[in-house]
Symmetry: C2
Subunit: 224 residues, 2 copies
């Protein structure tokens, strides 16, 4: 069966990815979105995920209640530790460039493993996530090597190997924005800011990255 489970955070990248997969696979395909309430700092992104899933016309959008995850890794990331504060700015000290404080231990393997379990159970052959080139500097679990290695595990499934696809892994955020524009994605219904209290703070690392990407794409960010 043609279809895909798309990991949808409600951010810019995964929202564009969902619409992109919808178009790539055609209207007959079984496209589903999977989001996680894993105890991240705020729920704004999950509300945006709901909106994008409806607009993309997915067959099913599940929000998995997995708050235990933040507790399991608590203290190891500013995204799951509500006591920690999100640092300003994009310019990380060199010592943190390989793994910024916003890295969450092994989160992407956990999310992809769960998505692959769901895909296998419903008979869909692919899991997609929005890793992109601008994340590879600091997140080992957003790289082509990571995707390849994950696929080497999943390919061992004897009945129904699910494949991980990261179509944006070699694209910059600006290129993703241009792709989204061509697909008519409503960027005002996405959320990136790590701080999670509208309006977007404009000063955390992901806000700065988003602003720069919109500039590079020659666009105005509707959330800025």
């Amino acid at each position: 069966m043609k279809g895909a489970v798309v990991l949808l955070s409600g951010g810019l990248d995964s929202s564009v990815l969902l619409h992109w997969m919808r178009r790539e696979l055609g209207s007959e395909a079984d496209v589903r979105a999977l989001s996680f309430d894993y105890g991240q700092r705020h729920a704004v992104e999950l509300d945006r995920a709901r909106v994008q899933a409806v607009r993309a016309g997915v067959r099913e959008h599940r929000i998995v209640p997995a708050r235990f995850f933040a507790e399991l890794v608590s203290g190891a990331s500013v995204l799951t530790d509500r006591q920690a504060s999100v640092p300003d700015g994009r310019t990380l000290p060199d010592a943190e460039r390989d793994q910024p404080p916003t890295y969450v231990p092994n989160r992407n393997m956990v999310l992809l493993a769960l998505a692959a379990a769901y895909a296998e159970a419903v008979g869909v052959p692919m899991v997609c996530y929005g890793a992109h080139r601008s994340d590879a500097y600091g997140y080992w679990d957003c790289t082509s090597d990571f995707v390849r290695a994950m696929n080497a595990v999943l390919a061992q499934n004897r009945r129904q190997p699910v494949r991980v696809l990261a179509p944006f892994v070699t694209m910059t955020k600006a290129e993703i924005i241009r792709t989204g524009v061509a697909l008519g994605v409503d960027f005002s219904a996405t959320w990136s800011c790590y701080r999670g209290t509208p309006p977007a703070c404009g000063s955390c690392s992901t806000c700065l990255e988003r602003q720069r990407a919109f500039q590079e794409a020659g666009m105005r960010d509707p959330l800025a």
Copy 2:
């Protein structure tokens, strides 16, 4: 730091594994046990897990509330679908030998990924699980190849790569029982039966496998 997170189901294999790791690593090591309430058919095994964790003197035993998992893969395994019945006997039709009805979609990758996240967050370098030779026939996620491929993913972590260890992966269940005897493991405080209502049914595939393994080890199963 010396230490390990041991996936502990409360079954025979993981219980022996926990005591084995405890002895291997010595009393100073940070040994932790992780169990999952993932919506499996019964909670008897979790009670047994609690007992074994206490007896092994682990630093921490967590039971992760992850019942959403059974819902996510519902219908795809008799272990997570309470409407389905557990089949009798060990002799599977040829068509089911590569993947028995008790296989749960991608469960082991999910559990290992979560355990690796926890290990990384608390600074422990290893995750151990009780996959063994007698499971490799039907479960792709209980093989040496699977373990190797998982390690190829986790090795990419730039700061703190966690290693998956499956010390019993080439051992039979009878050999695990002998190992457990040498370690003084109390097999009456383990649980294997898929049906989950004491006493053990004696006729499901895992009961038959357990009986045979005890016979092979020249022992009597205290649960039989």
